[in-house]
Amino acid sequence: MDTPQPNVSDPFYVQGILLAEVIKRILNRRADIQLAKIETELALRPITEFMERMRVSSIEKFDSTTYISTINFYKSEKDQDGQRALGAIVVYIEGKYIAELLKRMDYPIDDPRDEETLLDGCGTICNLMAGNFKSGLTQLGYAELVMSHFSSFRNEVLEGVPYDIDQQNKYEVTTRIDGVKRMVADLTMGEIPKASST
């Protein structure tokens, strides 16, 4: 399959850039990591669909244990009730780094090996990113979206993640901290109405 190419005039590309900026800002502000030490790389990737859900696995992201959290976006509460997702953010964090990242973000970690703590921590970070991304969308003139709570997993999401099945591609934001790949975020999004049209 040909690798899809980003289209810089596509609103979806701007949304990908926004997510990358949100990730940088949160890592800088909450984890006190210098902006110069955070690199983000944006790439367009094809969505692998199965039973009208997006397949989510850490295999292509990291070669070791990975914590994954997902959050969906909807045009309205009615769409949320009907489970008609417009978009999704999927955050993958390297298992051997997540406890350190949470500590750098000042979250209290009693046991850095506790699975529940790491799953919850991954979801907490995903929520922070998705919420700030959603606010950023409204500043770009988009209508307010409804956002789900987070769900967290280890290595893969067996049931897949709901998304707008008309979309074929997702943006992958790879984040390197101090030159090491630590986090990846996938973004898929259907057409978001402009604020004035709602």
Binding site: I26, Y107, P108, G123, G131, K134, T138, E144, H149
Partner: protein, 127 residues
């Protein structure tokens, strides 16, 4: 009086408790993992609760649903609520204030701890 924290993130609940403790606020903290549990805890302890710290996106019943359950019940309607959420858009803030005109504060994550503590001290009810 007690402080009720309603948030599905255990990490965020612990961070809030640590923030309260570091600021010298020794009030007992009650916790709930979603709006449904929050309403249950509130109905059992409302006489002792002097402030609610409330997340928005939660499973089962979200923060807006929780407030809708609270605002029309005279026994609990005056308990100050500070919403703490990652969604900081003006429209979300407006919606929260429309649902609860007495909303004591709307704080966006990631928040500045001293600002949150100032807000908490300003609104926390004394026994």
């Amino acid at each position: 009086m007690k402080i009720l924290i309603v948030d599905d993130s255990r990490m965020d609940r612990k961070l809030l408790m640590m923030t309260l403790a570091k600021a010298g606020l020794e009030n007992e903290v009650l916790q709930a993992v979603d709006g449904e549990e929050g309403l249950k805890v509130l109905s059992e302890h409302y006489r002792d609760i002097g402030l609610i710290l409330l997340d928005w996106q939660m499973p089962n019943l979200d923060g807006i649903g929780f407030m809708q359950g609270v605002v029309n019940v005279p026994e609990v309607a005056d308990i100050p609520i500070i919403m703490i959420t990652a969604s900081g858009s003006e429209e979300n803030k407006k919606m929260a204030h429309e649902v609860n005109p007495k909303l004591a504060g709307y704080v966006v994550k990631p928040y500045k701890r001293d600002q949150l503590i100032d807000l908490i001290k300003q609104h926390l009810k004394e026994a």
